[in-house]
């Protein structure tokens, strides 16, 4: 029986954790299997949770979020029989599969779309916790945006520097209003649960927003430009499907592997012009072809679009 551990923020964050949940549910619906799930309440619980799951013979154990990295590094060797899967960071252990996503690629596409949708030429980015991982989103987004609006401006804010930043919709909303006041008319929220506040405020203020991780277009139909989805659901689904035979090592989920992408559906269809679709498709093709390489912020902690 597999297990899935959600990070702080909880499985119904409409975002990252919920994507993982959807993957598990898809597996459950298809196979009729059951799985164990657990939500983190605090930083200090992670180790106990992992150990308890491993102790009770669950296998594989999927953990969502880079914050499990350090703990998993410590726990995995104690349970060599158990396979672990971690999402969003790399843990170098023989029984761990690390799923990492090409956030810059997906974000680049989001940036292209934002650039075309923006009337003011100013767009916003609201990140959750101020960490290199989120700068990856920001940097790709900025690059994509600049590719269509070279003179445009990207306003950036982060909600905080601690995990609480993932779960502060009030602050997210205030930041969105502040960005609107500064002229932004499309705001990309890479902020977990905080993003809900961003999307809400954007809808209230009559500007566009871009969701993240899960498809969030339905939250405010016609007001969310698109969502940069990370197919966390696929990672979870495949891990569950592989079961105890899940492959250790690094698994790169990029555009080519359909690991990241933009969500297009009925909810945002009225917002998307054929030109936009064409531009996005073209950028996507060039990225896959390697003609465009969106910069990975974490490779050198800098962003050429700044």
């Amino acid at each position: 029986e597999p297990a899935l551990v959600f990070d702080l923020g909880g499985k119904f964050d409409k975002s990252f954790n919920e994507a993982a949940y959807n993957g598990a549910e898809r597996w459950k619906a298809e196979t009729g299997g059951t799985y164990k799930e657990l939500e983190m309440q605090s930083e200090a619980q992670r180790e106990q949770a992992l150990r308890r799951l491993a102790e009770s013979g669950l296998n594989p154990i999927v953990t969502t979020g880079f914050a499990f990295g350090e703990v998993l590094n410590k726990v995995a060797p104690d349970y060599p029989e158990t396979r672990f899967v971690i999402i969003d960071t790399v843990v170098d252990q023989p029984n761990v599969q690390s799923n990492v996503y090409a956030e810059p690629e997906g974000s680049y596409l989001a940036g292209v779309l934002a650039g075309m949708a923006s009337k003011t030429g100013t767009v916003g980015f609201i990140g959750g916790m101020d960490i290199p991982l989120i700068h990856k989103f920001r940097c790709g987004y900025a690059e994509g945006f600049k590719s269509v609006r070279p003179d445009g401006k990207v306003i950036t804010n982060f909600t905080g520097t601690t995990p609480a930043a993932w779960n502060d919709p009030v602050k997210g909303g205030e930041l969105a209003r502040a960005q609107k006041a500064q002229g932004a008319d499309v705001i990309y929220a890479a902020a977990g649960g905080t993003g809900i506040g961003v999307l809400q405020a954007a809808a209230d203020e009559g500007i566009l927003s871009i969701g993240v991780d899960s498809n969030q277009n339905h939250l405010h139909p016609g007001k969310v430009l698109t969502s940069m989805v990370k197919r966390v659901d696929n990672s979870v689904y495949e891990a569950f499907k592989a079961g105890e035979a899940v492959e250790p090592g690094i698994k790169l989920m990029d555009l080519k592997a359909d690991g990241v992408g933009l969500a297009m559906d009925d909810n945002n269809a009225p917002l998307i012009t054929p030109e936009m679709t064409a531009a996005v498709e073209q950028a996507k093709a060039r990225i896959i072809a390697g003609e465009i390489v969106p910069h990975d912020y974490m490779s050198d902690n800098s962003c050429p679009a700044d």
Binding site: G10, K11, F12, D13, E39, A164, P169, V170, A178, D204
Partner: protein
Amino acid sequence: MDYGTILQILDSAVRLMTPLLLACLAGLYSERAGVFDIGLEGKMLMAAFSAAATAAVTGSVWLGLMAGVLAAVGMSLIHGLAAITFRGNQLISGVAINFLASGLTVLLGQSWFALGGRTPLLEGAARFGSITLPGAEAARAIPVLGPFYAEVVSGHTALVYVAALVVPGTWWLLYRTRFGLRLRAVGENPASVDTAGVSVPRLRWAAVAICGVLTGLAGAYLATGLSAGFVKEMTAGRGYIALAALIFANWRPWRALGATFLFGLMEAVANRYPELDLGPVTIPSMVMSALPYLLTVIILAGFIGRATPPRAGGEPYVKER
């Protein structure tokens, strides 16, 4: 910083001030009557949850508001029972109330909505919409004051204006009415009220109930005005900041407005400028968020002004000759 930015920050400060102001005034009633209340946080949280849950289920923000107020009054009842009827330790009761709210909101939320302690997103009539005051758009043309009116004064949700009215209302009630005189007296020397033939418990119960109503409004605003639904621990220490503001305001209504506005402004500025660059020094966001607490300690230490709490505060009243 241009005028537009200033207006935007002020606008944000007003929104962020509102829950603090309502909670602070709530604490003012309770503490002026001699019942210390460190459970503002819990009452607010409970109210936020009940308001959001009810609004989500019924689709009516007004029903949500009522539920929020009822929930907070319910928590007040527990506090009153401990502090007034059973003459228990008011501080401990407050601590318990904060934990109770923190646990119950998630427990009930999870069991009702299975959204990890969250309520569904509120939409349409389940949220407070913003109210555009008359002439707001027309006023924009007037230089300086016009945009101020349109941006900062107009365009808030109903509870913001309610909170603003509660300030003069509280002042009037406290200093111009019989009830206020007795309320202030019971917090200073309950024996004086008792020997004057007025019931001490009744006055304190009234104060605690008003405290419940106002924390109810504060919580409801948080979940249905400021944001669109409840998330766990969404009060995020605002109850304690309200308490800090109450001390800062020296238990006076107009100063409560000033103190909570200051704290709201600090939050708004911190939101806008996480790393506040003041030329030679850059203030990290942690300092900004810690500032209300730091200021409170400084006030309490008497380095700026002097906090003089109601004299009978925190003490259960026992008849004595």
